[in-house]
C-alpha cells in the first residue's frame, strides 16, 4: 500500500505554472474551465465518500486521467498504455516506461459536511523484451476510510453521563499485479496479469466519557483490530484493431477470495469474501482525422460477497458503462494537446444504508503530449476533472475528482 498525504493545494501551483507558461489558442476557454475547476477543489480531497462505509468499501477502479476524462471503464482506448483493467493494452509499449496517477478529490453530502483525501490509483512500470512486454502495476481497489462520531447520554446507575463514541475505519485494499502482453500479428494483441490483494483494514472504536461527570482520570475505551488483505486475482484480455479506424478490446478478470487475516493480537479468525468475475469490453472509433469516440461497459458478479456479508449488503450484478470523445487537433506550443469529454455510470457493488448505490459523473480532460514517437507517447501529462454524484435511496452526495497522470518512456 502506498500512502500519501498531499493536499490538492500542493498540486495547484504546478497546474498554474503549466497554465501561465502556455499560449492558449482556440481551446483556451476550456483550459481555463479545467483549471478553475481544479482550483475550486478544497484543500484535502479524496475518493473519499461516506459510501466508503458500505460493505467492504467504495470501489475505486485503478484508472488513469485519460480513462477518467473519457468516461471509460478502463478498456479499449486508442493507443498503448498500462491499465490493469486492460491487460493487452501494454503490448505496444516498445520502450521501457513508467506511469503514475495522482488523484485528489472531494465529496459533499447534500447539506452535509465535506470530506476529502488523495489517492494514487495506479502506478506502473513496463519493460519490453523482444515482442513481449512485462508490466508491474499497483492499483487501487476498495477505499475504506470513514468514521462515525456521535455524542450519547449514558445512564450509569441512575446518573446521566455524556459520552462521545467514535468509530474509525482506516486503510484500503489495493492490488499488485505482474503482467505480460504481446502482439499477435499486426491487428491483435493479448495480455495476462496475475496479482494479489494488498493493504490492510484497521477498525477502531473509542468511547470517551465526560470526566466532569465520571471523575478525573477516566480513560477512553478503545477496541481496535487490524486485518491484512490477501487473495489472488487473474485477468486476461485481447485487443483487436480490424482497421485503422476501429479498435476493440475485452478482458475478463477472475478473482479468488479476498481474505482478511487478523494481525496479532487482533482476535478472531480470518474471513474471506468471494470477489467477482468481471467482464469488460470497449472500443474506440475514429470519427474524423482528429476526433475519436470511445465507449465501453463492465459487468461484475458480486453475488458471492453479498452472501458473505449476510445478504442485502451487495448487488448481485454491478454494471458500469461510459463513453467519451477525444479531440486531438488542439496544440500547445506546437505539442499535441488532446481535449476529452466523457460520462460514466457505475453500479457500486455494496449497498449503503441498505440501499443499492450508484455513481455517475461527467468528465473533461486535457493532455499534453510532450514527446511522442511514431507509435507511442514518450512523455505525456494528462489531467481530468469529474463532477459526479453518488446515490443510494434518499442519500446523495456530490463529488469533484481530479486526476493527474504522468507517462514517461525511454530507452
Amino acid at each position: 500500500m502506498i500512502t500519501a498525504c498531499l493536499k490538492p493545494r500542493g498540486l495547484k501551483p504546478g497546474v498554474r505554472a503549466w497554465s501561465s507558461g502556455a499560449h492558449v489558442r482556440s481551446f483556451g476557454a476550456l483550459v481555463l474551465i479545467l483549471l478553475a475547476g481544479s482550483l475550486l477543489l478544497p484543500a484535502g480531497a479524496g475518493a473519499q465518500s461516506l459510501m466508503n462505509a458500505g460493505g467492504l468499501g467504495l470501489l475505486n477502479d485503478p484508472l488513469d486521467a485519460r480513462s477518467r476524462a473519457l468516461g471509460s471503464v478502463g478498456i479499449g482506448l486508442e493507443g498503448w498504455y498500462m491499465l490493469a483493467t486492460d491487460p493487452s493494452a501494454a503490448a505496444g509499449l516498445n520502450l521501457p516506461s513508467v506511469t503514475g496517477t495522482f488523484q485528489p478529490s472531494t465529496s459533499r453530502v447534500d447539506g452535509g459536511a465535506r470530506a476529502g483525501g488523495t489517492r494514487f490509483p495506479t502506478l506502473g512500470v513496463s519493460y519490453p523484451f523482444g515482442r513481449h512486454v512485462f508490466v508491474l502495476q499497483f492499483g487501487s481497489f476498495l477505499d475504506q476510510e470513514w468514521e462515525v462520531r456521535t455524542e450519547r447520554t449514558l445512564n450509569l446507575s441512575g446518573q446521566e453521563v455524556e459520552a462521545v463514541d467514535q468509530f474509525e475505519s482506516v486503510g484500503g485494499i489495493g492490488q499488485a499485479r505482474l503482467g505480460w502482453a504481446t502482439r499477435v500479428g499486426e491487428d491483435l494483441a493479448v495480455g495476462l496479469n496475475v496479482g494479489s490483494y494488498t493493504g490492510a483494514m484497521e477498525r477502531r472504536f473509542v468511547r470517551q466519557l465526560d470526566p466532569g461527570t465520571v471523575g478525573a482520570g477516566v480513560e477512553p475505551f478503545l477496541n481496535q483490530g487490524r486485518w491484512r488483505a490477501s487473495g489472488l486475482t487473474v485477468a486476461a484480455g485481447a485487443t483487436w484493431q480490424p482497421s485503422a479506424l476501429v479498435r476493440v478490446a475485452a478482458s475478463v478478470e477472475q478473482a479468488g477470495d479476498l481474505t482478511l487475516d487478523p494481525v496479532t493480537p487482533t482476535p478472531g479468525p480470518e474471513k474471506s469474501y468471494p470477489m467477482p468475475l468481471t467482464l469488460r469490453a470497449g472500443g474506440t472509433v475514429t470519427l474524423a482525422s482528429d476526433l475519436r469516440l470511445s465507449t465501453g461497459f463492465a459487468r461484475a458478479d458480486w453475488s458471492g460477497v453479498d452472501e458473505a456479508l449476510g445478504g442485502d449488503a451487495a448487488r448481485d450484478v454491478a454494471w458500469g458503462y461510459g463513453g467519451g470523445v477525444e479531440w486531438v487537433g488542439s496544440t500547445i506550443l506546437g505539442r499535441t494537446a488532446p481535449i476529452r469529454l466523457g460520462y460514466r455510470h457505475q453500479d457500486l457493488p455494496f449497498h449503503f444504508q441498505g440501499e443499492p448505490a450508484t455513481e455517475s459523473a461527467f468528465s473533461a480532460g486535457l493532455s499534453v503530449n510532450l514527446a511522442d514517437t511514431e507509435t507511442m507517447p514518450v512523455a505525456r501529462i494528462e489531467y481530468s476533472l469529474e463532477r459526479g454524484t453518488r446515490d443510494a435511496g434518499v442519500f446523495s452526495e456530490e463529488y469533484w475528482r481530479s486526476t493527474l497522470s504522468i507517462r514517461l518512456a525511454g530507452g
Binding site: P42, G46, G117, W146, T150, F205, N223
Partner: protein, 429 residues
C-alpha cells in the same frame, strides 16, 4: 491505495457504528478486592514540621508544649578597651541575664483573648529532638528514656508573660543572670533546654521561633554591655494524648505521620452471585484491562478522635504503590496512582456527618489487570505490578492533625468504583 485522513468522511449517526457497546458502573466491596490492611504511625517527626505548638486543655484534654535548645554562647565577645579604637576579644565576659523572645504564629492560630505562656529551664538531662514525646525523652530503637515527669520532665521556672495578639506578635520572658551564666558554662545544648507551655485553657497557639537575647558585660571594659542573640539549635513539640493508629480506621497525616497500606487483589472475573454481577449485562464476565475505563477508590470520612486533632488546614492525601511489599512500612513508594493528590478541605473531618471522597486510580488498576494490547504495535513483555498501595499525606509531616476515614470492616468501608465498557470487539463487516 494511499489516502489522506485530514477530511475523513464522517457520520454523526450513532446507528452507523458497527459496535454494540455497553458502559456500566460496578461497585466492588473492600472484601472482594482489598487484602492485608495495615495502619502504621511514626513516619517523620514533629521536629521536621518547622512549626511549634503550645496548648492547654484544647478541645478537651489536649496539651502541647514546645521544647527548645538554645545555641551555645560565644567563646568571646569583641569590645573596645577604654581609649582604644580597635576591638579585642573578651572571653571573660559576664552574662548579666537576658530575654527569651518568643515569636508567635499570628496567621493561622490567633486567640481571641490574651493568653499566658510560661517558660522553664528543663532539668531532664538527655532528650532527643527527633523522637521526644509526651512520655518519652528518647524513643529510639534500644534506647527508650522516659521523662522524669510526663510532658518534658521537671523544669525550673524562668517566668511567664501574657500575650495579647491584638498588641504584639512577640512574647518576652526575662532570664536571670544565674540562668544565663549556667547556659554559658554548659558544654551541651541539652543543658540550655527551655520548655514553653500555655497556661490558658482552651487555646491552641503556634510559635514561629524562640531565641535568647543575652546581655553580656565586658571584663575588659566593664562599662560595655553587649547584646548577643542566640537562636535555637533544635526545636520540637510534644503533646498528649497520642491517638496512634487503629486497624479499623484509615488515618492520614499527623506528626509523626500515619499511613495505611493494603493489597489490591482484583478478581479475574465477576462470578454469579457477586455484588458486581447484579450490575453487569452478562455474568460471569472477565475483568480485563481494556474494559476498565475508570477506577476510583471510594472512602468515607469520619470525625477525628480526639477532636483536637481535626485538621484546621487543607489536608492532602496521596496513593502510591509500595515497591517492596516485604519491607512495609518502610517500603519505598512508586509514583502516584492519581493525577493529583486528593485534597480535603478543613471541616470534612468534623464531628458532624461523613463525606464521600474518591481517589481516581484508573491507570493503576488497568496496569494490575495487564499491559495494554496494541494490535498495531509490537508485543510487549508482561511484568508484575506492585499490588500494595499506601495511603498517606504527600507532605509528612504537614501538621500534628490528621484525617480519618472509615476502614475495612466498618459500616462505611472503602469500595472500588469501576466503570466498564463491554463490547464484543471490533469485527469485520
Amino acid at each position: 491505495m494511499g489516502a489522506c485522513t485530514d477530511q475523513v468522511p464522517t457520520f454523526d449517526d450513532g446507528a452507523a457504528i458497527p459496535v454494540d457497546a455497553e458502559t456500566v458502573e460496578v461497585l466492588i466491596p473492600f472484601s472482594e478486592f482489598g487484602r492485608d490492611f495495615q495502619a502504621f504511625g511514626g513516619f517523620a517527626s514533629q521536629a521536621d514540621l518547622g512549626r511549634l505548638f503550645v496548648a492547654h486543655e484544647y478541645r478537651g484534654d489536649f496539651d502541647a508544649r514546645t521544647l527548645v535548645r538554645i545555641g551555645a554562647f560565644p567563646v568571646s565577645i569583641s569590645v573596645f578597651p577604654e581609649g582604644e579604637s580597635s576591638t579585642v576579644p573578651d572571653s571573660a565576659y559576664v552574662p548579666l541575664g537576658g530575654n527569651l523572645v518568643i515569636r508567635m504564629d499570628t496567621t493561622r492560630l490567633v486567640p481571641d483573648e490574651a493568653v499566658e505562656l510560661a517558660a522553664g529551664q528543663m532539668e531532664a538531662g538527655e532528650w532527643d529532638i527527633r523522637t521526644a514525646k509526651w512520655n518519652l525523652a528518647v524513643d529510639t530503637l534500644g534506647g527508650v528514656v522516659q521523662w522524669d515527669e510526663p510532658g518534658g520532665g521537671p523544669t525550673r521556672s524562668l517566668g511567664s508573660a501574657m500575650w495579647d495578639p491584638q498588641e504584639a506578635d512577640t512574647l518576652v520572658i526575662p532570664v536571670d543572670s544565674a540562668t544565663a551564666n549556667q547556659w554559658r558554662d554548659a558544654d551541651e545544648s541539652v543543658d540550655r533546654s527551655v520548655r514553653v507551655e500555655s497556661r490558658s485553657p482552651g487555646h491552641l497557639l503556634g510559635i514561629n521561633s524562640v531565641e535568647f537575647r543575652g546581655h553580656f558585660q565586658s571584663s575588659v571594659n566593664p562599662d560595655t554591655v553587649v547584646t548577643v542573640v542566640r537562636g535555637s539549635v533544635g526545636t520540637t513539640f510534644i503533646y498528649t494524648p497520642e491517638p496512634g493508629v487503629t486497624q479499623e480506621e484509615i488515618r492520614i497525616g499527623g506528626a509523626p505521620a500515619r499511613r495505611a497500606y493494603f493489597r489490591v487483589e482484583l478478581p479475574d472475573r465477576f462470578e454469579e452471585g457477586s455484588a458486581a454481577c447484579e450490575l453487569l449485562p452478562t455474568c460471569p464476565m472477565e475483568l480485563t484491562r481494556d474494559r476498565v475505563v475508570y477506577a476510583g477508590l471510594v472512602m468515607q470520612t469520619r470525625p477525628v478522635e480526639p477532636p483536637a486533632f481535626e485538621p484546621l488546614d487543607t489536608l492532602r492525601m496521596d496513593v502510591r504503590p509500595a515497591l517492596a511489599a516485604d519491607r512495609i512500612p518502610r517500603s519505598p513508594l512508586g509514583t502516584s496512582v492519581q493525577p493529583t493528590p486528593r485534597t480535603f478541605p478543613p471541616g470534612v473531618f468534623a464531628e458532624e456527618g461523613s463525606t464521600r471522597v474518591e481517589v481516581p486510580m484508573t491507570r493503576y488498576i488497568q496496569d494490575l489487570l495487564g499491559r495494554p494490547e496494541d494490535p498495531l504495535g509490537p508485543g510487549q513483555e508482561d511484568e508484575e505490578r506492585p499490588s500494595t498501595v499506601a495511603l498517606f499525606s504527600p507532605a509528612e509531616p504537614s501538621g500534628f492533625q490528621f484525617g480519618s476515614l472509615f476502614g475495612p470492616g466498618t459500616e462505611k468501608e472503602p469500595f472500588l468504583r469501576l466503570i466498564l465498557t463491554i463490547t464484543d470487539g471490533v469485527e469485520l463487516p
